[in-house]
Amino acid sequence: MRSVVALAVLELRRFLADRLNLFFVLVLPMVLVVVLGLQSGGGGGTAQVALSGDAGTVAALEAELATIDLDTSRHAEAATVEELVSVGTADVGIVVRSAEPLQLDLVVADEQTAAGLGQLVRSAADRVTVARAQEDVLTGAGLSPEQAAAALDGAPDGWSAAGVEVGGTDPVMEEFAAMGRFEIGAGGQLLLFVFLNTLTAASAMINARRSGAIRRTMAAPITSTQAVAGLALGRFVIAVFQGAYIMVASSLLFDVRWGDLGAVLTVLALFGLVAAGVALVIGVVVDSDGLASGIGVGGGLILAALGGCMVPLEFFPEGLRTVAMATPHGWAYEALAEIQRRGGGVLDVLPQLGVLAAMAAAVLLAGGWLLRRSLGRAM
């Protein structure tokens, strides 16, 4: 056990000795948090919808949006709405081009919003359209607008529900609506970042192999299991520290809600172990640290993209979702989604934790075996 701790402490020391690593651990996550926080309109929490156009229609839209907990703001010019969305102060804009017949433009900044929040706003707009159409039908049948409105208000909820279905509000959308824009991406970003940073351990391993320090370490009375445990423990501490740091900073500064802290940290810990194992495997198989960095960054980004850290997993087509579940990111993402959005605890994410633990065990075992083999290989 002493040897394992000694190795872990060594890994930490080596990591901290490099100023660049400190930048990656302490500074870059802050930059990331701030940038993402600003994107969310500075407030985190609720999404902002900017509206402009015909006052009556805007009021109707505001009422609809309020029912799904979105904040709204009114603006005189369509251009203002577009600008607010483009600078990120508003998450979505709605411009009422014409009230009769109802014609709306939806303004979104990016694909991700268009898919999530945009969908939600669109369905709110659809509800307004349907209500308007119903009113038209009733007034057309001879009722006064007041009578028509009263009749519609008096109608049972289920009656207008058919119209709501058109917009296709689904539980995922509801979840996303309840989150700030940063929160939607935060889980994925956290995973992407922790994994990428942990993979830098591969280069450290290669340097230690080249200098012969690993040979000497392995010539000491330790088993390769102890060696792997020590190396992984060091990296694991870094990964968890990094993740926790991002979580604390983002929740203090931007009110990002992460959910059950114990559960999130457990996911992060197992995910960090997988990353440490992958780094070890790369570090003992690849002999050039340039190549290892390339594989680390390239592979880290690809895995993150496949695992739902860039575009949320929920928007993946069926086939790609299967691929996603071959990545540790996919499982960790699902676990974080459960914890962060649906208030899940450790027990709710046991399957995901199990898969992550199995992945960690597999890569670490492979790493240990490859480490032993690497001692007999010329570099």
Partner: protein, 327 residues
């Protein structure tokens, strides 16, 4: 992990276990047989040299001795402990100083020593004391806190050796510890090895420098092509050459006539001419030299220089393999 204790201390000194017994070690890398049935036996207190050119198989042999590489054949016992069955106990008795500068450059000399000391099972006050002693021994006390990447080559080499000594191993294994260092540091390293040997530590020293083996080692194994070509004390090895010396004569005048005359005297076994130099192989140079000088002078050669070369490990190597050590 349990530690097995070595042979009891009551064992009589005369029949003491060798600190190293390697028998018939074989290691192949694909088609290359890097080590081909190598056997070594080192007694307590001995300084044992493994002398051979680059690629002879020295590092591979050492890797098997230190448990870094599993042999394709043969066995290793360190102070009686079998490496294959009890690797941790066997490794504990060894101190390895690898050929590369096997230190972690990002951390300080003290941190390196502390780390490797921990791996060797040292801790607490004992660890601190040993680290202090070794820093003193290798002359790095005043630079102990600097990252070792800032050290000169010689300082790194000294730290490299210091780490191997931390836990008072029964056998210190040094793999070409002087490669790439300046002559001054080299001398310092050789002196420290001599000092350690003087204190009774057994040393396995590999080198391709004949002079180092000659200066340090009680026994030498000459290796080439993965095989031990000869093994023994330096005198025993030199015996193998048949005890012949070389005399080199330089000068002007009738060198050709001198060569012819030399072929006529019985003590001279071989004569080779290289311009104005004559190289003779003789049975015993100190007694033969007077007759040789008289003969060449009579033949009309004006001698400017006479050099007598006693056989050394280089000649042994040449004799055994037909190659120079450094080529």
């Amino acid at each position: 992990m349990t530690t097995s204790t070595p042979a009891p201390a009551s064992t009589p000194v005369l029949s003491s276990t060798p600190v190293l017994e390697a028998v018939d070690l074989v290691r192949r890398f694909g088609p290359v047989t890097a080590v081909d049935h190598v056997s070594l036996r080192i007694e307590p207190g001995q300084t044992f040299g493994l002398l051979g050119p680059n690629g002879a198989g020295k590092t591979t042999t050492i890797s098997m001795i230190c448990g870094l590489l599993s042999p394709d054949g043969g066995s290793v016992h360190v102070a009686g402990v079998p490496m294959a069955q009890e690797p941790l106990a066997a490794k504990r008795r060894l101190g390895l100083v690898p050929q590369d500068l096997a230190v972690y450059p990002e951390i300080s000399a003290r941190q390196n020593l502390t780390f490797f000391g921990r791996l060797q099972g040292l801790h607490g006050a004992e660890l601190r004391t040993r680290v202090g002693e070794v820093l003193e021994l290798v002359g790095l006390s005043d630079r102990a806190k600097e990252p070792s990447k800032k050290f000169s080559g010689g300082m790194k080499r000294r730290l490299n050796i210091g780490i191997g000594l931390l836990h008072h191993p029964d056998l210190l294994v040094l793999d070409e510890p002087t490669v790439g260092v300046d002559p001054q540091s080299r001398n310092a390293i050789l002196e420290s090895v001599e000092a350690l040997a003087g204190q009774g530590m057994a040393v396995l020293y590999t080198t391709h420098y004949m002079e180092e083996a000659q200066r340090l080692c009680d026994r030498v194994a000459i290796v080439d092509d993965g095989r031990v070509q000869a093994e023994g004390t330096q005198d025993e090895l030199i015996e193998l050459t048949g005890g012949v010396d070389t005399i080199v004569l330089s000068g002007g005048g009738d060198v050709a006539a001198a060569e012819v005359s030399l072929r006529g005297i019985p003590v001279v076994q071989k004569v080779a001419r290289d311009g104005n130099h004559l190289r003779l192989v003789v049975q015993n140079a100190p007694t033969a030299v007077a007759g040789v000088v008289r003969t060449v002078s009579d033949a009309g050669m004006n001698l400017s220089d006479v050099v007598i070369q006693r056989p050394d490990l280089e000649s042994v190597f040449l004799h055994l393999t037909g190659k120079a050590l450094r080529d």
